[in-house]
Structures are given as structure tokens and as C-alpha cells.
């Protein structure tokens, strides 16, 4: 029995021939396997052969009349590859096409087919760039010939290929065989006879005898050999998902804006930011920086300071007029609450030309951005800048419009849809003795007071209970309002604090002291608080949040204080909703009937960051429009698991360079008032640290390394791949520093 394999250099045809030989050897047959050598350049058509016999094999020739053909690349199918195949001979093709199609195309053969490339890719067989299909198709062949599974397994072990066995077994199970179609009657091909022998002696002649050309130099690169025919896979420039984009809850094209900043400047970057957020100025100051947690540079030499760059763009570019996408059918929408979720929703709606009205209970817009975040972190001017961008789109704002249940019912009737974005208004209380004493105050009430009523004072020793951003804001604001001393007591440890790391560090720099693993058990005092009793806490096993559960002990201590601020978390205030309404999955229902009222931001998700609220505002705006019948796709967040992993970045190309630091005022200076602590980055050069994970930067590495020289620069600066000559070797992909290419079959 003779088997011939047609493949391309790099697909592993010779190893495939050896696997088949090893399998038949285990069945007691005499075997022989070999390849055609010297043509085995990557992508070149190659042949390999397996011969099987009951008697010892003495035939040393290539296989001219195969009983079975294996074709690893369907582009190789043709007269040359099918030459000599016996009538009814089997033909196994690596192709997603059904075998019946090949039965039609090649009557007189018995075709089987299977998409071995897909299976091998799924099993991760091959190099980083090129899938290798030999071990997979050998499994399919074994099935077509009835080679027992245990024989196949043994053959893979013999050749040290046991790791590829799962793919082979999948192929074994999945391969399909078609019935042969009869061949139309044709005159039998006549085998060409060997040429007649001729002597070496030159014929007598007066002309000088010929010398066969021994050099084959040609002018220029033109060659008649279109090596693109050798290819089984073709590279393609793609945008792979960057981790920063996958991690950003607001759905910002982070890598896009940072690269635009590095290459084109702040205005181009502002345009990209405006696609997703109206609050670049805000986010550039207060975002926790999820993108920076996902940054591939983080464990190399520190994450790119994206937050600082976002602020740089907002501070240095005019307010971006986001490209508007006017709708043919403007609708009327109401947004209740002008915090980040409400603003984001209103922005998204107004950009599409819908008439949008914004209702805010306070006298000024901004919600928690205005009342909850102190001015030293987010100055009014920065917020105003972002608000202006939203109002410029034609959003009609009603301030001082504190709505009740009846108002909401009316809005629901007057508007096509209502989006509720009232945030978390309800502060968590502490049910311990003495909580009614004067001097014990909710942190958000204090922040509200301090932000909207200048001149408030706080003296003596202030204790803040809690470990989140509100606690940090309270502590640092208290210092600025004249407190002599501020202590933060938190029931868990420092590493469990939910506050932004920089906030904690800045609070410490400013002199705030921390008492970790301390839980309040009683306030002390006659009618005004004078002290606080704390219990020591031990950390037990993790709770639902994944953090270790605090276990209160009997060990107590007491500290003297003059003021206590509670920053223990907030929950939504649902008093606004009419009695018979219920919120479910972000939408209001009345006795089971869906209303045109949608909840967004913290009210709906409780996620607790400005960034999450921005993303959710945009998502819910889209959801409301879809519910109204607009033909739009729902917005979904990409899966972090799909992002370009660190292993796919070639760090050798990137010199280590520390992240740029923000310019900060000295602690002693800054606690004297509410001026912004940070002056931002000194320049935008931090953008150049961005690796551009997954996106081509036209760095020319692929162009330089392509052994065929077939990647060219187009006049517009982008790349073109000459498919006529690309052999699909995948070197461009494997040298790409940032994973900006993929191979397609």
C-alpha cells in the first residue's frame, strides 16, 4: 500500500508520513516513510510518502501510484497532486468543505474531508503564528482506514507526539467520508515511456558546443514563480483587543486615545474620548484607573499613567464636538439626576439628536461629582468644562427640580422614556449606643455641606469611620476645614481598603492617621460625642466580596474625639418610586407591566465609581432607545479574557522607563485650602510609553523581517501585503512587538 501526502513546508507532511508508518509498524507491517527534500522551504509545496507492506520493502522510489492521498492544503488539489491515484483511491482533504463536494469535483475517488486546521488551532498545535495540521489529519486518516485507536495512540507515543493526541482523536471522531461518484468514461491515459538512452559524446558540428547556463541571475525582483500559491494561511493586520479597552468600565477606546495623543496631539485624542464619555476632565482626575490595572506594562516597568493622560487631553484640547449621529425620529427623553450616569445618558441621547431634558434636585448640576467629591480633587472649573460640552449639545437642564412620586408618574407620561440616575442617596447608619449624639454625622452630609456651603468649620480631633473613597474625602476635607487631627478607623487592613491607592497615600502624606482592624462599638458622651469605643478585629475566612471577614473581639480601647464622620457605604433611595412600581433588572414595572422608565448608574448597579456610572449611563440610554423601537445593537462590554495577554507582547523591543508622575503640591501647603492637589502631568510624553497592545503602529518590524520582502508601505502610510508572493510563513506575526496581526486561512 502506498500513501502520498501533499502539503506545504511547515505543515509537517513528513512527520505525518512517519506517524502513519509508525501506526502500520505497530500492526506488524513493514514500513517506509520519507519526504521530498530541498523544496521544504516554508510554504513550498512538498510531498511525503508512506509505503506499507507485508513483505520487507525494497522499493526505494517515490510514490507514483498512490492508493491513498492526503492533502493538507486544499489549494494544492489539482492534476499534479491527484496524478496516479488509483480508481476508487481514497482522498483525504484538510478542508471545511463537505466531502461530497470533492466527490463531485473528483469523480472516481473516495473523498473524505475535515477542517483539521480549525481543530489544530483549537488545540494550540503549531508555532505562535502558524497552525500545524499534520498530527490532526493523521488521526482522520487512521479513521478512514480503520486503524484501531490504541494503535494510533501507540504511534503518537512512539514519535513523542502524545501531546497532539487529543486533536488526532477529535479528528478521528469527526472526519466524514463521501461515496465516490463514477468517472465519466475517458480514454485511458498512456504512461509516457522513459526517454531513449543517448550517449554523452557530443555530435560532430562546426558550431561551438553549447554550455548550459550555470547562473540564473535576473534583473530586478520579478520572477514568474508566484509564491503566493504556496500559502495555506495569510497574515492580516487587525485590531486585537487591548487590555485597557477591555478593562475600562466606561467603554473608552483607551489605546486609541493614547496613541492619538502620542501621534496626532490632544485634539485627536479628545475626539476619541468624546465617542464614549462627556466627562474626560472629571475622569482624568477621579477615575480609579481600571485600564491601568489591566495595562500590560504594569508588571514590566509600571502601567501607563492613562488617567494623567486623559486629564492632559481635557486640559489641553478644546471641548470636543463629538460627531453627532442625528436620528430621523427625534424623541423626548427625561433623565433624572445629573451625576455621572445621568450626564452620560443625556449626552449619549443628545448626540443622536433626541430632545433630552435633565432634572437635578440641587441648585447646580453634577450630582455626586459636585457634592461628594471635594474641590481639591475635582475643582468646579474642571466639572464645568465637561458640563458645558453636554449642554452645548442642546440638553435642557432643570436644576432645583427635586422630584416626588407624582412628578415621576407625570414624566413617564409626558416623555417617551425616563432614565433614573439618582445614585446612592441613603447613607448607611451605625446602630450602636450613642449614635444619636451631636457631633456624629454622616460623611456624605458633611461633604455636601463642605462643597456647597463655603465657610464650614470643623475643629479638634475628627474620627472618620470607613475605608472607601468617601472616607478619604471626609478625612482630607476635615483637615482643610480646620481639624487639629484626623484619624481614620477601619475594620479591615490597609490592603482591603476599597479607596484609590493614591488617595490613601495622599491622605497619609497630609497627616491623616489610620487605625486598622478597629470596629466601633459605642460612641461616648453626654449630649455631644467626646469619645469612641473601638474593638479589635481579627480577619477570618473570605466573605462574599472575596475579602476576609472581620471578626470582632472582646479587646477594647477608647479614643477621645470631638467629631465623628460615618463613611460606611450608601444605598439607593427608592422613595422616589410610586408605591406600585418595582425596579427589576434596571427597568421599572407596574404590576408586571414594563414601563418606559429605566434605572442607570449606582441606583441600578451599585458599582460605586464614576467610570462605571458613565458606561452604564450610555448603555441604558441605548437600551431605552432600543425599547422605543430604534434599530440599534445593545452595548456590551468586551471580555477581559479576550484581551492581548502579556505573553503576546515582545518586551525586548521596549526599553524600561518609569511612568510619568503627577506634579503635586507639598502636603503642608495643600491642606491650607481646597486648591487642586495635582497639577497633572508635566507633558504628554507618557503617551509614548503605551505599547499599543493589539494595534499596529506602523513600526516597520514586520516589513523589515518579512523574508519575502512583500510587505509594502502604501502612499497613505499603511501597509499592504502582496498576496501573490506571500508564502504565509507567519514571521511578520511572530516578530510583531504588539500582536497587531493574525493569520487567516
Amino acid at each position: 500500500m502506498e500513501i502520498r501526502i501533499h502539503g506545504r513546508g511547515g505543515q509537517g507532511g513528513v512527520t505525518c508520513a512517519k506517524i502513519l508508518a509508525a501506526a502500520y509498524a505497530r500492526m506488524g507491517k513493514s514500513v517506509q516513510a520519507f519526504g521530498d527534500y530541498a523544496a521544504e522551504r516554508s510554504g513550498a509545496p512538498i510531498r511525503a510518502y508512506t509505503r506499507v507492506s507485508d513483505a520487507p520493502i525494497t522499493n526505494r522510489n517515490k510514490v507514483y501510484h498512490p492508493d491513498h492521498l492526503l492533502v493538507l492544503d486544499p489549494a494544492l488539489l489539482g492534476e499534479a497532486s491527484l496524478a496516479g491515484l488509483a480508481e476508487g483511491g481514497s482522498l483525504l482533504i484538510n478542508s471545511p468543505d463537505p466531502p461530497e463536494r470533492f466527490a463531485e469535483r473528483f469523480p472516481g475517488t473516495r473523498p473524505a474531508s475535515l477542517d483539521c486546521t480549525a481543530i489544530a488551532r483549537r488545540h494550540g498545535i503549531g508555532t505562535r503564528s502558524v497552525v500545524i495540521v499534520n498530527t490532526t489529519i493523521a488521526g482522520a486518516f487512521a479513521r478512514t482506514q480503520g486503524i484501531p485507536l490504541e494503535v494510533l495512540e501507540g504511534a503518537y507515543e512512539d514519535l513523542g507526539l502524545a501531546g497532539d493526541l487529543p486533536a488526532a482523536l477529535e479528528a478521528y471522531a469527526a472526519v466524514r467520508i463521501a461515496e465516490p461518484r463514477p468517472r465519466a468514461a475517458v480514454a485511458g491515459a498512456v504512461a509516457s515511456p522513459p526517454p531513449a538512452p543517448r550517449t554523452v559524446a557530443p555530435a560532430a558540428s562546426t558550431a561551438p558546443p553549447p554550455v548550459l547556463a550555470l547562473t540564473a541571475h535576473t534583473e530586478g525582483p520579478e520572477t514568474g514563480l508566484k509564491t503566493g500559491d504556496w500559502r495555506s494561511q495569510l497574515p492580516r493586520f487587525v485590531r486585537n483587543l487591548a487590555p485597557c479597552n477591555a478593562w475600562c468600565p466606561a467603554g473608552i477606546d483607551v489605546v486609541g486615545f493614547v496613541q492619538a495623543l502620542a501621534r496626532e496631539g490632544p485634539e485627536a485624542a479628545a475626539g476619541i474620548l468624546a465617542e464614549a464619555t462627556p466627562l474626560a476632565s472629571v475622569c482624568g482626575r477621579v477615575c480609579p484607573g481600571f485600564c491601568m490595572l489591566g495595562c500590560n506594562r504594569r508588571d514590566y516597568d509600571g502601567a501607563v499613567n492613562v488617567r494623567g493622560l486623559e486629564r492632559w487631553v481635557a486640559d489641553h484640547a478644546p471641548i470636543a464636538r463629538a460627531a453627532e449621529q442625528p436620528t430621523a425620529q427625534p424623541r423626548r427623553l427625561a433623565v433624572v439626576g445629573s451625576g455621572p450616569a445621568g450626564l452620560s445618558a443625556a449626552y449619549a441621547l443628545a448626540r443622536q439628536g433626541h430632545r433630552t431634558e435633565l432634572f437635578e434636585g440641587e441648585s447646580v448640576l453634577g450630582g455626586v461629582l459636585r457634592t461628594g467629591i471635594p474641590g481639591y480633587r475635582l475643582p468646579d472649573a474642571a466639572l464645568e468644562r465637561d458640563l458645558q460640552g453636554i449642554l452645548d449639545l442642546g440638553v435642557e437642564a432643570h436644576t432645583g427640580a427635586f422630584l416626588g412620586q407624582a412628578d415621576l408618574e407625570r414624566l413617564s407620561q409626558d416623555f417617551d422614556a425616563v432614565i433614573l440616575a439618582t445614585g446612592l442617596q441613603q447613607a448607611r447608619d451605625l446602630d450602636i449606643p450613642g449614635s444619636e449624639l451631636a457631633g456624629v454625622e454622616q460623611g456624605i452630609a458633611f461633604l455636601h455641606r463642605s462643597n456647597l456651603e463655603p465657610g464650614a468649620r470643623l475643629t479638634g480631633h475628627v474620627v472618620v469611620l470607613g475605608g472607601g473613597n468617601t472616607a478619604m474625602d471626609c478625612a482630607r476635607s476635615a483637615l482643610r476645614f480646620g481639624a487639629d487631627r484626623v484619624t481614620v478607623a477601619y475594620r479591615r487592613g490597609r490592603s482591603e481598603m476599597p479607596a484609590i491607592r493614591e488617595e490613601i497615600e495622599e491622605a497619609m502624606e497630609e497627616g491623616v492617621t489610620f487605625r486598622f482592624l478597629q470596629a466601633p462599638v459605642a460612641f461616648v458622651g453626654e449630649d455631644r460625642v467626646t469619645g469612641l469605643e473601638l474593638a479589635e478585629v481579627e480577619l477570618g475566612p473570605p466573605d462574599d466580596s472575596g475579602r476576609r471577614r472581620p471578626l470582632v473581639t472582646e479587646r477594647r480601647s477608647r479614643i477621645a474625639c470631638d467629631h465623628v464622620l460615618l463613611a460606611l457605604g450608601q444605598s439607593p433611595d427608592l422613595a422616589l418610586l410610586p408605591e406600585d412600581w418595582k425596579l427589576q433588572d434596571g427597568r421599572a414595572f407596574r404590576s408586571g407591566e414594563a414601563l418606559n422608565v429605566f434605572a442607570s448608574g449606582d441606583l441600578s448597579t451599585g458599582a460605586g465609581t464614576v467610570t462605571h456610572a458613565i458606561g452604564d449611563g450610555r448603555r441604558v440610554a441605548r437600551q431605552a432607545l432600543i425599547a422605543l423601537g430604534e434599530a440599534l445593537e445593545p452595548l456590551t462590554r468586551p471580555d477581559r479574557a479576550d484581551a492581548v495577554p502579556r505573553e503576546r507582547i515582545r518586551f525586548d523591543y521596549f526599553a524600561r522607563r518609569s511612568p510619568a508622575q503627577l506634579r503635586q503640591a507639598a502636603p503642608a501647603e495643600r491642606i491650607g485650602g481646597f486648591d487642586e492637589v495635582s497639577q497633572g502631568l508635566p507633558d504628554a510624553s507618557e503617551a509614548e510609553r503605551c505599547l499599543s497592545c493589539g494595534s499596529c503602529t506602523y513600526c516597520d518590524t514586520c516589513l523589515i523581517y518579512c523574508p519575502e520582502g512583500i510587505i509594502h508601505r502604501e502612499p497613505d502610510g499603511t501597509y499592504a501585503i502582496d498576496a501573490e508572493y506571500c508564502k504565509g510563513c507567519g514571521i511578520c506575526l511572530s516578530v510583531c512587538p504588539r500582536c497587531g496581526l493574525e493569520m487567516v486561512t
Binding site: K18, A33, Y64, P194, P195, V200
Partner: protein
């Protein structure tokens, strides 16, 4: 003994390893290696082996590879290397040195076309170029030969009556990169077959000059001794075949291997894998009523003149099949053996498979047909098979 599936290159590397280990009771094993297609897999294999008292030295050229072997061998180690084609050309000066120093080095040579222009496939011209270097030469027909004849080379070359190096040729890719089943002996068997090397003229701590100036009468003596040693190979080879059979249970190929010659009128004489194909063609011709036979020349140096003449006795027409060309003469095997046919026989030279062409049975059937129809022998013929 076990049956294993491997390429001829690996079989050669494994044979060298087993022979090297067998000399652990002697002065050990030494090898200088430099890669060249299609030999590379052999020395890669050798480099990965753990050989007690073994030294495999990776050097920068074939010339140095043989120089390293010369040094090891002079110090009494069992020495081995492998090369091919233009690598052998570069090595040549030291190939002659090894021969004339009478050092029992063994070299596997993958027969490959000499360039330029470049061609990596089989042609016997490379080792035939070294015909006069004073080495024993054998040409393999299958993968098993790379195991068996490698061990035979060590045994015969190291025999105190011989002490000349031995070269083992194999057809590029047709054997070198083809996997087949071979019988692999145990170390204990190889230990029995290959006693520790005791080189009488090995260097010791006594200072000596080697390879100094030889005056004509000294050269005359050296050459006479060398020729006499070569002439003893037939006897020693036959003894080694017996010993091999006693240890391993099978007999390595004779210096010449006849096939259906007894009643033949017409014979095909060939070397290497062409001999396998010739047997298939003989069978085919006999089915057509032509009394054909085949003769494989396994041992080329010393040239088995007597055996060839004996086998060709009574043959009327002889086709000598060369996979080589000595320009200005013809096939080298033909040049050496044409006078050994009976005086009145017609002897025609055909060169087939030059540069690696795939010689198929139908090509040799055509040769038989052509030979049968000749009125008299003509000039050497190159028959295209590619």
C-alpha cells in the same frame, strides 16, 4: 536486539554510539563533527548521546573534523565522523592523512552530488573522488546496512592485520532521511563483536615524529604495506561476517551480492540503492523471458576484482550502472570493472540517477531492452530519469 523505526542517518549515529561505548574498556571514543546536509541528523543524534569515555567535538569545518579524528585515533581512541559532498572535498587533505597514517577511523558519508551548481541529492561522485585515499569503501543498500556495515567497518578497520580507515557510503535521502524498521543490537552484543581497540602505533608519552619526510624508498615501502593490508581485507571481512553472524544472528552483505545470475545471459552491475531497483527490473525482464540477473558491488575498496570476475563468468551482456560521472571517461564503476567481464562479452555503461534522479524499475527495464538490442558496446550513456 530490538526492532526500531528510524532513518538511516540515525541508524548510523546509533551504530557509532554502540561502537563508541564498546570501547569504554579501552581508551574510549572520539569524534570531530561538522554538519552538512544530508548528514546533519546523524551527527545531531551522536551529539545527544551519553557515551562513557566519549568525546564528541563540534568543530568549525570538515577539515578540522577529520583532524580531530586523526588526533583521537592516534591516541588510541575509537574514532568516527560523518560528512558529505563538498564537505568531503574540503576534508580531503586530512582524509588522505588518515589513510596514510593507517588510522582505523570510520566515516559515514552520505553520497550527494558535488556542486556547483548546487544539488543535495544522491550521486556517488563525492566518495569516489576519495577512492585513492587509502580507505576501505562500502556502499549501503538499505537502512539496516547503516547499522550492520558500520559495525563491520570498525571491526575490519581495527583488525591488527588491516589498520586502514573505512568509509561507508549511503544514498542521500533515499536512505538518509527515510524511516524503516531496523534490527538494533544490544550493547552486550556489540561489546562481544568489537573488542577494545589496541592501536600498535598509538602515541604514548614517548615523543615521536609522525608523518615526517619520506624518501622514495621509504614511500615505496609504506605504499607496499598499505596495499598489502588492503589486500588482506577480503579475508578479514569474511571472518568478520562469520563473527557478526555468530553474535547477531544475521549475515552482513558480501563484497558483491548476486541476484538471479546463475543462468543469466545479461547482468546489471550497480552500487547503493540502485541495486534494489535492479532486482525489481530483473524480475520484470524475466517475466518477459529475458534471462537477466543483477550484481551489487558492496565493497568498492579494496576492489573485489576476483569476486566480480567469478560472478560475471558466462554472462554475455553486461550493463554497468553508474550514479556518477568521471568527465572524459565515463562511469567510474564501469571504468574499474569493464575488464572483469568475460573477454567476448558486450559491456555497456549507463549512468542513471545523476544528481538524485529517481531511478525506477521501468528505467532499468528500458536499459535491459536497449542492452539486449546492441550490436556492440558504445560510448558511455547518460540516461535521463528525472
Amino acid at each position: 536486539m530490538s526492532t526500531q523505526l528510524m532513518t538511516a542517518n540515525h541508524a548510523a549515529g546509533l551504530a557509532a554510539t554502540l561502537a563508541g561505548r564498546a570501547n569504554r574498556r579501552g581508551r574510549g571514543f572520539g569524534s570531530g563533527v561538522y554538519p552538512i546536509t544530508p548528514q546533519t541528523e546523524c551527527i545531531e543524534f551522536l551529539c545527544k548521546q551519553d557515551i562513557e569515555k566519549g568525546h564528541v567535538v563540534r568543530v568549525e569545518s570538515e577539515h578540522s573534523a577529520m583532524a580531530v579524528c586523526i588526533g583521537f585515533s592516534m591516541a588510541g581512541l575509537r574514532a568516527y565522523t560523518a560528512s558529505s559532498s563538498n564537505g568531503l572535498a574540503y576534508m580531503t587533505e586530512n582524509v588522505f592523512a588518515a589513510g596514510f597514517y593507517r588510522l582505523p577511523i570510520v566515516m559515514m558519508a552520505v553520497n550527494r552530488t558535488m556542486g556547483p551548481p548546487w544539488n543535495i541529492w544522491v550521486d556517488h561522485g563525492d566518495t569516489l573522488m576519495l577512492r585513492d585515499a587509502g580507505w576501505i569503501q562500502l556502499y549501503c543498500e538499505d537502512n539496516q546496512d547503516l547499522m550492520d556495515l558500520s559495525l563491520m567497518c570498525f571491526r575490519v578497520a581495527e583488525d591488527p592485520r588491516i589498520l586502514v580507515p573505512a568509509m561507508l557510503g549511503q544514498d542521500a535521502f533515499v536512505l538518509s532521511h527515510t524511516i524503516m524498521q531496523i534490527e538494533v543490537p544490544d550493547q552486550a552484543q556489540v561489546d562481544r563483536f568489537l573488542p577494545p581497540l589496541d592501536l600498535p602505533h598509538r602515541l604514548t608519552d614517548q615523543p615521536r615524529t609522525v608523518g615526517g619526510l619520506d624518501f622514495p624508498h621509504e614511500i615505496e615501502q609504506h605504499r607496499e604495506h598499505h596495499a598489502a593490508a588492503m589486500n588482506r581485507v577480503f579475508e578479514v571481512y569474511a571472518e568478520a561476517q562469520d563473527a557478526f553472524e555468530a553474535v547477531f544472528g544475521r549475515r552482513p552483505a558480501d563484497p558483491v551480492v548476486p541476484y538471479r545470475l546463475d543462468d543469466a545471459e545479461l547482468a546489471l552491475v550497480s552500487m547503493g540503492t540502485t541495486a534494489s531497483t535492479a532486482r525489481a527490473a530483473v524480475d520484470e525482464a524475466r517475466r518477459k523471458g529475458i534471462r537477466a540477473g543483477s550484481l551489487r558491488v558492496n565493497l568498492f575498496r579494496p576492489f573485489p576484482e576476483r569476486q566480480l570476475a567469478a560472478q560475471l563468468a558466462g554472462i554475455e551482456r553486461v550493463a554497468i550502472l553508474d550514479r556518477d560521472l568521471s568527465p572524459g571517461m565515463g562511469g567510474i564503476l564501469w571504468g574499474e570493472s569493464r575488464a572483469l567481464a568475460p573477454r567476448d562479452a558486450l559491456v555497456q555503461n549507463y549512468m542513471l540517477g545523476l544528481g538524485g534522479g529517481d531511478v525506477r524499475p521501468e528505467h532499468l527495464v528500458a536499459v535491459i531492452d536497449d542492452l539486449a538490442g546492441l550490436e556492440r558496446a558504445g560510448a558511455p550513456i547518460i540516461q535521463e530519469v528525472a
